[in-house]
């Protein structure tokens, strides 16, 4: 559903408004309403979704000048000081400004700034009437600014232009840049009141009056800005203006006069309606830089702009924290469940280990007794076979001198055997000891570990050669 926009214009005590809806890229407006009475204003404002206001602001000052380049936070103060110097009114002005660009003059960078200053008291008076609907009010600006801004927005312009609005009791002449920035604006305290459209004399007299004011304004502009006179002059306010100025043409040299927009501004309006109501609907197209909403309202709206994202961030944070907590709750349950699940297993194992340890403690004494029985009865050597085994395997040429049996280091028994070999030569003796060692090793009782053969008395005819054997003894099988 399209929003109902209420475009309002206030001139002294008179308030007029038009409801406008934007549908499918075009604007559709109702007829002009007189909202001067409190009831009518309340009724209109209550049914509107958004309200845009323009006011004559007779105290308004329009400045377009070069200013020193200062930090953004100091700029409002700089402009206020400048406005106070130029302002005629007693109260502090409210300032709306727009930075147009930077200019280098004599090696110094300066900013070209357009600002508009309006007496605080005037804004307060206006606000007193509309305060009740402050949430709906999107903008407040001066009528010259909204007229120039609307023309600049909808017309194709290449240079400065003049927009003139002629009402019943007052008129406005303003000269603006192609972007709609006011350079000169004048409120004239007369209008079409008293002009008889069937009386050519009054029409000619009015034309001359306007021509005079236009010429003055343009001359002032030429002197002040050192720029050529504008080529395009727009004249709005009444459907009779064209006939008046055709009867008595204006005398601005080289100027083209326009009594309507090149393209249609309001889709459902006739050209006459558009010309007559242009000043009212122009409030919709005001330049946001020259918005004179009270500072408190702007600050509130700015804070709301910050507040809503803060709400959103907080909501997201709370949501995330909520899910995190939920996830942690699940994790705690899982961990707790795992612990509870493991507890009986641990208890069962503990019981089993304890039972085993009790059993072990009962059996522990057998370990010591086993050692005792192994030492005394179990691990015995075959004492009844060792000597006969040597007797059977020892040839006549080998004489055993001694046999010594002692426990080895690794719970085994070692036998040191020493003896002599009678042989013709040490080589034959060596062969004999080899054969003897092999025979002993083949016996199940012994394992030959080392053989030491040391030939002596080599010069004697019958030779005896000493030898030593180290044997490992196998234990008796039970």
């Amino acid at each position: 559903m399209a929003q109902k926009l209420l475009s309002v214009i206030r001139q002294r005590d008179s308030i007029r408004g038009i409801f406008v809806e934007k549908k499918g890229g075009g604007y559709f407006a109702g007829s002009s309403l007189d909202l001067s009475s409190k009831e009518a204003l309340n009724s209109a404002c209550s049914s509107a979704d958004e309200i845009y206001i323009s006011d004559s602001f007779l105290s308004a000052v329009y400045v377009l000048d070069l200013f020193p380049k200062v930090a953004p936070k100091h700029l409002p103060q700089l402009l206020l000081q400048d406005a106070l110097a130029k302002f005629q009114a007693s109260g502090d002005p409210n300032i709306g400004f727009q930075i147009l660009g930077e200019v280098q003059t004599e090696g110094v960078r300066q900013r070209e700034i357009a600002y508009m200053a309006v007496e605080e008291e005037e804004i307060k008076q206006l606000w007193a009437q509309f305060k009740k609907y402050e949430k709906k009010i999107k903008g407040i600006t001066s009528l010259p600014a909204s007229l120039a801004g609307t023309v600049a927005k909808f017309e194709s312009l290449e240079s400065n232009f003049v927009v003139t609005w002629i009402g019943e009791t007052e008129s406005i002449i303003s000269i603006a840049s192609q972007d709609g920035i006011i350079k000169v604006a004048r409120n004239l305290p007369f209008g079409l009141e008293g002009v008889e459209f069937n009386d050519q004399d009054t029409m000619r007299a009015f034309s001359r009056k306007i021509d005079k004011e236009l010429t003055r304004t343009i001359n002032f502009f030429k002197q002040g800005f050192r720029e050529p006179e504008p080529e395009k002059i727009y004249l709005f306010g009444s459907r009779h203006l064209q006939s008046i100025f055709e009867l008595s043409p204006l005398s601005i040299p080289g100027a083209n006069y326009f009594f309507q927009f090149t393209s249609q501004l309001i889709s459902n309006y006739s050209q006459e309606d558009e010309t007559e109501n242009f000043h009212i609907v122009s409030s919709l197209f005001q330049n946001k830089n020259f918005n004179f909403l009270p500072h408190k309202v702007i600050a509130d709206r700015k804070s709301k702009k910050l507040l809503y994202p803060s709400y959103a961030v907080l909501a997201v944070v709370i949501l995330c924290l909520f899910f995190w907590n939920f996830q942690l709750r699940t994790q705690i349950r899982e961990e707790d469940f795992t612990l509870r699940e493991g507890y009986p297993i641990a208890m069962k194992l503990k019981g089993e280990v304890e039972a085993l340890e009790v059993k072990i403690s009962k059996f522990e004494r057998f370990r010591e007794w086993k050692v005792f029985y192994d030492q005394t009865f179990n691990d015995k050597l075959a004492w009844d076979r060792i000597l006969s085994a040597f007797g059977r395997t020892t040839p006549p040429d080998i004489v055993l001198d001694s046999l010594s049996i002692n426990p080895g280091g690794k719970s085994n028994w070692l036998a040191h055997v020493s003896g002599k070999i009678r042989a013709a030569s040490w080589e034959i003796g060596l062969e004999q000891i080899r054969e003897y060692g092999a025979k002993i090793d083949n016996l199940e009782l012994f394992i030959v570990k080392t053989v030491n053969y040391a030939p002596q008395n080599l010069e004697e005819n019958t030779k005896y050669f000493n030898f030593n054997l180290l044997l490992e003894l196998n234990k008796m099988e039970q």
Binding site: Y311, E335, W369, F372, L403, M476
Partner: protein
């Protein structure tokens, strides 16, 4: 205070509360995880203990089984056992190899492997043929009545036709008795 700021404040309070609550829960999760790990480690340790204990018990059961032949042997008072052993060393045993038994030192008590009375002997014997010595050694060392532990044995060829053997043995008489019999073992599942 405007309601929008109250809402904002409430939102901040709620989020702070949730954050603190969440952090506490996070700590609780970590504590539980730590406990879980410790618990797992304890279960693992208990399993390992159980395996070791089972292995140990099996070794002991094997040891107990191996002791079955000796359970009914029984030993009396060490003094009586000593006297009996001296009786065992009768002339009939010693005469064949002209054995001489010498008591070395006085009996001592030792704790390991079981509390026992240890008496050391030196046995010297002579023989001409190995079978004479082996008969003697079999009767002395391979009997199952007197717990003897051989420390060393030497055999040296001496002058003439005889050979001399020398054995150092300990008579280990238990100071206490293994008060178990086969029925006890059966009761223990062995």
């Amino acid at each position: 205070m405007q309601i929008k700021y109250v809402i904002l404040l409430l939102g901040i309070l709620v989020s702070t509360h949730l954050a603190v609550y969440g952090m506490n829960r996070h700590k609780a999760v970590n504590v539980l995880k730590g406990k879980g790990l410790a618990f797992d480690s304890q279960i693992h340790k208990l399993r390992s203990h159980k395996i070791k204990a089972e292995r140990n018990l099996n070794q002991l059961i094997v040891a107990a089984r191996s002791l079955k032949p000796w359970l009914n042997t029984g030993f009396q008072d060490p003094e009586q056992g000593f006297v009996k052993f001296l009786d065992f060393l009768n002339p009939g045993l010693l005469k064949g190899v002209n054995a001489r038994v010498t008591l070395r030192g006085s009996p001592t008590f030792q704790k390991n492997p079981i509390p026992l009375q240890k008496t050391s002997f030196q046995v010297v014997f002579d023989f001409r043929y190995p079978n004479e010595a082996e008969r003697f050694l079999k009767e002395l060392l391979l009997q199952n009545d007197y717990p003897l532990k051989v420390n060393s044995a030497t055999v040296n060829r001496s002058q003439g036709k005889n050979t001399r053997g020398q054995i150092s043995v300990d008579l280990l008489l238990p100071a206490s008795l293994l008060k178990f019999n086969l029925d006890d073992l059966k009761g223990m599942g062995v």
